[in-house]
């Protein structure tokens, strides 16, 4: 009973903070609300029975990705992340309304509800699957991460600073 109540409570928190992200006036505020949203989502993962993913959610999303976002926001300064005037929200709202309506129909038609309490897979089965069935994708993620790091470094290097190893340029 208590997990169900907590689930709806944290669900409301997730949606409220996500709304604050979307309708935020400043990029820094939105980033802070997004961090709060990730904490609520992590609590949801915990309630669903996935403590490992809840911990990863906080460590990777809050600890790495959002810190990166905040770094860039502060690097670009205030004039870089000015609150821009939003587009006409009517079209966006209509698209979202249609999509949500269709999703609601699918959700209502698909599942009448379960009779017994569903059991999430335990940690043992998850780690076993990660290093057997999912070994190849798991190893490929490391390649992806290296490629992303190399790409980010190449893109982020300032073109104005000359390479110290290169011979000095001839100026006319």
């Amino acid at each position: 009973m208590i997990p169900a109540v907590l689930f709806y409570l944290f669900g409301a928190g997730t949606l409220a903070t996500a709304a604050c992200v979307v309708f935020g006036r400043r990029a820094v505020e939105s980033a802070m609300w997004l961090i709060a949203c990730f904490f609520f989502l992590s609590a949801e993962f915990l309630l669903l029975g996935f403590p490992f993913l809840a911990a990863l959610q906080i460590m990777v999303y809050v600890g790495a990705i959002m810190v990166l976002f905040l770094f860039v926001i502060m690097l670009l300064g205030v004039q870089g992340v000015q609150p821009l005037r939003g587009r006409t929200a009517v079209t966006a709202g209509m698209v979202v309304a249609v999509m949500l309506a269709s999703l609601g129909v699918i959700a209502a038609a698909g599942h009448a509800g379960l009779t017994e309490q569903p059991a999430p897979p335990d940690m043992d089965a998850m780690t076993r699957a990660l290093f057997t069935d999912y070994l190849l994708p798991f190893e490929l993620t490391s390649v992806l991460l290296v490629a992303a790091i190399a790409g980010a470094l190449t893109l982020g290097r300032s073109p104005r600073t000359p390479d110290p190893a290169a011979p000095p340029e001839e100026r006319p």
Binding site: P3, A4, F7, G11, L15, A18, V21, V22, G24, A27, S30, L34, C37, L41, E44, F45, L47, L48, G49, L53, V60, Y61, A64, I65, F69, L75, L76, Q79, G80, V81, Q82, L84, R85, G86, R87, A92, G93, V96, M99, L100, L103, A107, G110, H111, L114, P118, A119, P120, P121, M126, A129, L144, L145, A148, G151, A152, L153, L155, G156, S158
Partner: protein, 100 residues
């Protein structure tokens, strides 16, 4: 007990908020943050399905989504820095050099 359909509805609402932000905002950083919201709603849906089926496959997907989100954030933010250097603005509506 938490009905699976309610988890899916929560994920759908979260995805809707993310796509609303993506369509509404013009700031490139806000666009990336909306994408993160959408990725997380997909994770929530995967976990709800995994819990209902008692299946590890659904629980594996969020791990990979996490990695892809990290890679996407790194490259995307590097692109945003380049954009800011060249244009001194993060307004995606000003990016028309590829049009026509």
């Amino acid at each position: 007990m938490i009905p699976t359909a309610h988890v899916h509805i929560l994920a759908a609402l979260l995805f809707g908020l993310g796509i609303l932000g993506f369509l509404r905002q013009r700031n490139a950083i806000m666009l990336l943050m909306s994408v993160e919201l959408m990725l997380n709603s997909a994770n929530l849906s995967f976990l709800a399905a995994a819990r209902e089926q008692g299946n590890v496959d659904g629980a594996m997907m969020p791990l990979f989504v996490l990695v892809v989100a990290a890679a996407e954030a790194a490259v995307g933010l590097a692109l945003i820095i380049i954009l800011f250097r060249k244009r001194v603005s993060l307004d995606v509506d000003l990016l028309r050099s590829l049009r026509d």
